[in-house]
């Protein structure tokens, strides 16, 4: 018997506190698998943010530090500027964390070309605090703070973070992926792996935006939630690579 799929050693033995069907769990696993495959668990320092993934430091089997809400890119910068070059540094941030309170930090980390990997979990909502509007909440989407649905007049249009950061010269690699079916999960893993490789090559800032579900706060079942990603989110947040700087070898 060959083992086709087993739990990665990139995760600790802890059971997660996530809601049933929450794709945070899938994304955790992908990052952990990549770190294991890159043999990087012993040379990586991760930065957990504040959001449902606040306890990420319990789950990843590498050194972890926990940052204040929105400030993970700054904390990662502190680590990056201090640690030896062979270390890998990543942040794991939600859309409230990264795109709302932490907007200045992410823009500047990207502009500086800070050599870190950012895993950006976009679930179009604040999960942790009970389903308030995020900067990525879709128009018309009902949340605790947009009881009538998000309106462009009152709350403006959702921010496409990948597209925006791609305008910055410091950003080396930016891709948006999704978790709504096995094929896209595989693609997501490939993107995550690539971003860590780019960091290893010291090419600068990279970010993988992962479309993720929050069935609890969307008021859908886990399965419906994945369909909602496909039918509602992807049309507004198209998947793909938004920035890819030539590899160091390829330059010239």
């Amino acid at each position: 018997m060959k083992t086709v799929f087993k739990r990665t050693t990139g995760l600790t033995d802890a059971e997660t506190h996530y809601c049933p069907g929450c794709t945070h769990g899938i994304i955790h696993r992908l990052v952990a698998e990549v770190l294991e495959e890159l043999d990087a668990l012993e040379t990586t320092v991760g930065v957990a943010s504040v959001g449902c993934s606040v306890l990420a430091y319990h789950y990843f089997n590498c050194d972890m530090t926990q940052a204040a809400h929105g400030r993970a890119p700054a904390v990662a910068t502190g680590l990056r500027r201090v640690l030896p070059e062979d270390r890998l540094v990543f942040t794991y941030q939600g859309d409230g964390d990264l795109a709302s309170i932490g907007m200045a930090e992410i823009v500047h980390a990207a502009a500086r070309g800070e050599n870190i990997t950012v895993i950006f979990v976009n679930n179009a909502i604040y999960g942790m605090t009970g389903g308030q509007m995020a900067p990525t909440t879709l128009l018309g989407q009902k949340t605790a703070t947009t009881p009538e649905g998000r309106s462009s007049q009152l709350q403006g249009l959702p921010i496409r973070v990948s597209e925006m950061l791609a305008t910055l010269d410091g950003a080396a690699y930016i891709e948006r992926v999704s978790t709504h079916d096995p094929v896209h999960v595989l693609k997501a893993k490939k993107a995550i792996k690539k971003s860590f490789e780019i960091q290893r090559n010291r090419q600068g800032f990279s970010m993988i935006e992962v479309l993720s579900s929050c069935s609890t706060n969307w008021g859908l079942t886990p399965e419906e939630s994945l369909k909602w990603i496909k039918s509602q989110m992807i049309p507004y947040y198209p998947l793909g690579i938004f920035k890819q700087q030539p590899c160091i070898g390829e330059e010239s």
């Binding site: 012993e42 320092v45 940052a67 700054a74 904390v75 680590l79 640690l83």
Partner: protein, 350 residues
């Protein structure tokens, strides 16, 4: 060298190689100094996009176990409050400089001591304290910067170096050779530097969703604070042996008070100076002891009255405590303090 630059060189001397800062008058010279100096000694200076980013970069660097510093002035310091609370909660060592200026709000860029409450009590949320050292001369900056890093490392705590625009901007001769450099950072086993096969992963956090666990964490902090209170009180006493009156003042104001005391002594008034050097832990015991034998105490601050609360808490009614303060960047003059000393003697006589 200006006071701000002395802080920078003293930090380098104390083994600090990392600095994350954001410009603000009247401490910008420190930022500029570090920008120039740290690369020379193989360190790294980074101008953060804001004070908030700066303190969180410090959090990251401190997580990795290095000696690291940031600095700001009053409004910028307010912005760091959440970050300082996180540093305290996660027990990370770092040195934070506040070269205070006139407030509240945007205020102005003149010297002030109106951040006393903020640095000694209030500041961020939750039950924590940060040791606060308040030098009053450039030479003392050198020794206290060194001490700040020692205390930070020894107790795993953020430490605040509090000055004001006057101290930051002035120049006077300084010797570095007199001071021992601080020994290298000893290994910080808790630091998140990548496990490198060396045991299980480490985590740094201030979160504890379980209330009982968080209380245990808080008790640990409180024990640490008790130890600091016991061992790290610093105070400078001047002409107190025969004093009937004492002025309590810190930082640059203490210098002005000292000149006033010299003049008052010439007039035959037996007045001395208690200068808290550590503002937290506050030298309460010493003040309490003196207060039993003094006729009256005068607290002088560049504020509307902040340290006076700690003085009164120490004195507990054993002697009258008077106050003289100037605000908004106005520096109390020697003459004004002399007048206050006279008032003191008169009021007590009545």
């Amino acid at each position: 060298m200006k006071g701000n630059e002395v802080i920078g060189e003293a930090a380098v001397y104390a083994g600090c190689r990392y600095f994350f800062g954001y410009p603000i008058t009247p401490q910008s010279e420190l930022v500029a100094y570090m920008a120039k100096r740290l690369p020379e000694v193989g360190g790294c200076f980074l101008q953060a996009e804001s004070e908030i980013s700066a303190i969180n970069m410090v959090y990251g660097a401190a997580s990795a176990g290095v000696r690291v510093m940031t600095s700001s002035s009053s409004p910028g310091f307010s912005l760091k409050q959440e970050g300082i609370s996180y540093l305290a909660g996660a027990e990370l060592p770092a040195v934070i400089v506040n070269i205070a200026r006139g407030g509240p709000g945007l205020g102005n860029i003149q010297p002030s001591q109106a951040d006393y409450f903020q640095v000694t009590k209030g500041g961020g949320h939750g039950d924590y304290y940060t040791p606060v050292l308040a030098p009053s001369s450039l030479q003392e900056i050198v020794s206290l910067t060194r001490e700040a890093f020692r205390i930070a490392d020894e107790y795993r705590t953020p430490v605040i170096l509090l000055g004001d625009g006057m101290l930051g901007q002035m120049m006077e001769p300084v010797e570095f050779e007199d001071e021992k450099p601080l020994p290298k950072v000893r290994e910080k086993k808790w630091a998140t530097t990548g496990t490198k096969g060396d045991g299980p992963p480490k985590t740094i956090t201030s979160l504890d969703l379980n209330d009982t666990q968080l209380e245990i964490r808080n008790n640990t902090l409180q024990q640490k604070y008790a130890a600091i209170k016991e061992k790290e009180v610093r105070v400078d006493e001047y002409l107190l042996d025969d004093a009937a009156y004492a002025i309590v003042a810190y930082g640059t104001v203490a210098r002005i008070a000292r000149t006033a005391i010299d003049r008052a002594r010439k007039k035959g008034i037996a007045v001395g100076l208690i200068r808290p050097v550590s503002l937290w832990p506050f030298p309460a015991t010493i003040i309490s002891e003196y207060s039993s034998v003094l006729k009256a105490i005068l607290t002088v601050e560049m504020s509307a009255g902040q340290m006076i609360e700690d003085v009164r808490l120490a004195v507990e009614g054993k002697a009258p405590v008077f106050f003289y303060g100037r605000t908004g960047g106005v520096i109390p003059t020697v003459d004004e303090i002399l007048q206050q000393i006279d008032r003191l003697t008169e009021e007590v006589a009545i």
